[in-house]
């Protein structure tokens, strides 16, 4: 996927002015967060599970070499192959090589964000192998030559009309605005592709070290047809997906379903262990796991290590006011929202993605819903610091921060200036107590009035409250004995 992250500011403006996108994002805001809240409420142990999830992931990272070796040993023992890939190029080559050895003309694909990360579709196509996306959302996007804007609901930026138009154009069918009919259409078209494919490529939500299994979690069943019907099954995944045992995997499945879609359990949780057994009636004859690093191993021992706990549930973006306003494409690469703002700078460089960790109000909602307690705002702050240290932030911004720091280091002057500003803003507000335009602040006042301050500063109020704190409490507040 092409990197458009440096253009975040322009893309955001366009997103805010795009009525279709704004309508589609409304579906997100009213959907996932409500469903998650209900599911969490039904699971009294949820907080306990989150803590355990965090602890197990920390344990895995501290022993990552051991668990990866164990996973590799068990995949091999079951007749599968593990291919290690340092970077995207390694992973693409490994996959193409397997496809070419299988004489593959078409490959079906289950949904995989890692395959987006390595630009797999373009690469396969340019080497004569036709990839076919089979997840409904991904299929719609492939027809539109579009990319996912969300890690679990890839076509969330589109409306019914968009789907209807592209299906009618590409399938040669009459327009319909019935989503059930559109889904049936995709089902029928893809049925033949599933059967015809030589290779099936899926991602993995987890890799189980104990058994050498990979697991995919889907609601549609497309991933299962992708990996069962073709002669060769390739799993493309990353080194941070390994978990020790089936019991640990079960814990993460409980967390994932509730945090992602607010379901009690996802419809299909499917474990694959090696190729088909000797007498099996169906299933692939070859099973390959491509384990990609792409910079993740370098996060260990750094202030970004906690990001490796991420289970890609999307709760952080579903609850993020910035994502909710501009959508996923504005972020300009594969991973949007708060988790993307932390991961993207590591994967493509802070030079190209400096806007992302700045695209946060630091409201903290992302961290509060994260199933493995990743301190996302803290890590976005780390990226901001790195950006500042590398002198990557714009001049105006650096000047502003520098000026603020000058006064912040001189408290008496700071307080005097704050008092003077509050007083003049109060005067400017007049009777309406609102300021309609303010020099240098049209970023705010172009869209809404600035409420005028009451006149006093925070410090003034603080002092005043401190002096009244000793007043006796209301008699009703006393404990009755």
């Amino acid at each position: 996927m092409q990197i458009n992250s440096p253009d975040f500011k322009n893309s955001s403006k366009k997103a805010l002015d795009n009525p279709g996108l704004q309508k589609a994002l409304g579906n997100l805001r009213n959907g996932f967060p409500v469903k998650r809240a209900n599911a969490v409420q039904r699971m009294p142990e949820f907080e306990l599970l989150r803590n355990e999830g965090r602890d197990i992931k920390n344990h895995v990272i501290a022993n990552l070499d051991f668990y990866l070796e164990e996973f590799e040993t068990n995949v091999t023992k079951n007749g599968g192959n593990v291919h290690w890939a340092c970077d995207a190029e390694d992973a693409r080559k490994a996959i193409l090589d397997i496809c070419q050895k299988a004489n593959a003309k078409t490959v079906t694909k289950g949904k995989s964000m890692v395959s987006e990360e390595i630009n797999l579709n373009e690469y396969l196509e340019s080497n004569g192998v036709q990839p076919v996306e089979t997840d409904l959302g991904e299929y719609i996007l492939q027809l539109r030559e579009d990319h996912p804007s969300h890690i679990i609901a890839p076509a969330i930026h589109l409306n019914l009309d968009d789907v209807s138009s592209i299906f009618s154009e590409k399938h040669g069918t009459p327009h319909t605005s019935d989503p059930a009919a559109l889904m049936q259409e995709a089902r029928e078209v893809l049925r033949d592709k599933f059967v015809a494919a030589d290779v099936g490529i899926t991602g993995a939500n987890f890799c189980v070290a104990e058994t050498g299994s990979t697991i995919i979690v889907t609601n549609e069943g497309n991933g299962d047809l992708t990996q069962t019907l073709p002669r060769v099954h390739i799993v493309i995944t990353t080194i941070d997906k390994v978990v020790p045992t089936l019991e640990d995997m079960s814990l993460f499945l409980r967390l994932l379903a509730r945090s992602a879609t607010g379901q009690e359990f996802t419809v299909y949780n499917t474990l694959s262990t090696g190729p088909r057994r000797e007498n099996d009636a169906d299933g692939p004859e070859e099973y390959h796991v491509v384990l990609l690093d792409n910079g993740r191993s370098e996060m260990i021992g750094t202030q970004f290590q906690d990001m490796l706990r991420c289970i890609r549930c999307s709760a952080c973006m579903n609850h993020c006011p910035v994502y909710g306003a501009v959508g996923g494409h504005a972020y300009g690469w594969v991973y949007p929202g708060p988790m993307g703002s932390v991961l993207t700078p590591k994967l493509i460089g802070i030079e190209k993605s400096g806007h992302l960790p700045n695209a946060s109000t630091f409201c903290g909602k992302c961290e509060s819903v994260c199933p493995v307690h990743i301190p996302l705002p803290k890590m976005m702050r780390h990226w901001r610091e790195k950006e500042f240290e590398k002198h990557l932030s714009p001049k105006g911004f650096r000047f502003g921060i520098g000026t603020w720091a000058y006064f912040a280091k001189r408290p008496a002057l700071y307080r005097w200036l704050a008092r003077a500003s509050a007083f003049s803003l109060k005067l400017m507000g007049g009777k309406s107590r609102r300021i309609r335009s303010l020099p240098l602040k049209n970023g705010w006042t172009a869209w809404r009035d600035l409420p005028a301050p009451e006149g006093g500063t925070f410090m003034d109020q603080w002092k005043k409250n401190q002096s009244t704190e000793t007043s006796p409490s209301h008699p009703d507040n006393k404990c009755r004995s």
Binding site: R187, G283, M299
Partner: protein, 222 residues
């Protein structure tokens, strides 16, 4: 030049500031793998078995699967015959598991039964379930010579026989059951909770995406 594998392991160990695990540290993680301890199991499914069955039935309904209760397994072929008749289905593809093959299927006089993996165009399949998990109304099906995985996904309607005695509370109990009854993991373990669905168009849930549009569980008491 070192291989990708060597490079990745070197990076990990540099980050962890240590060499490959040895001694007690190694024994500790090996021990954890071998013992595979359970994490917190939600209290929801910690119930007497008859209440677990009730919970399973409730959760199955919530997942939009259908459930038909039968007193004993000899009724099962009759129930399948009735279902196929009511739905005007004349062709059944079936698994050949011991649980299914020991039953008398002669009652399906007007139905063609084929015991094979599923193909595109098959309308209805029949399989048996290794376990039912009460916590979320989930079926656990295993691949094998007599139970092809495609039967669980290609046809429009999936009929599944589940014995009540195979219902457990939580996923962890199903893994214990699998470990105790099988020497090795089957190629595919399917945990299935309701029929296929998608909300990829405008976040509105539609049933029957790529997998079965209907999942019908025949719960057999004996």
């Amino acid at each position: 030049m070192s291989s990708s594998r060597e490079q990745i392991f070197a990076n990990i160990r540099r980050g962890l500031k240590r060499d490959a695990l040895q001694g007690d540290a190694l024994k500790a993680v090996q021990g954890r793998l071998k013992e595979h301890p359970s994490n917190t199991i939600p209290a929801r499914s910690k119930l007497p078995h008859n209440e677990q069955i009730q919970l399973f039935i409730e959760m199955v309904a919530e997942a939009s699967a259908e459930l038909i209760k039968l007193d004993n397994s000899s009724e099962f072929p009759f129930a399948v015959n009735k279902f196929l008749g009511e739905n005007k289905l004349t062709h059944l593809v079936s698994a050949n598991s011991a649980e299914l093959s020991q039953l008398d299927w002669s009652v399906l006089r007007d139905i063609t039964i084929e015991r094979r993996p599923a193909q595109a165009g098959d309308l209805v399949s029949l399989t048996s379930s290794f376990a039912g998990i009460a916590e979320t109304g989930t079926l656990m099906l295993l691949s094998g010579a007599d139970s092809p995985t495609t039967l669980n996904f290609l046809p429009d309607i999936h009929l599944v026989m589940l014995r009540q005695s195979n219902i457990v509370g939580a996923y962890e109990e199903a893994w214990d059951k699998l470990r105790s009854q099988r020497a090795e993991m089957p190629r595919t373990v399917n945990m299935i909770t309701g029929p296929s669905r998608s909300a990829d168009i405008e976040q509105k849930l539609q049933m029957g995406a790529h997998g079965p549009k209907r999942l019908v569980i025949f719960l057999v008491a004996e």
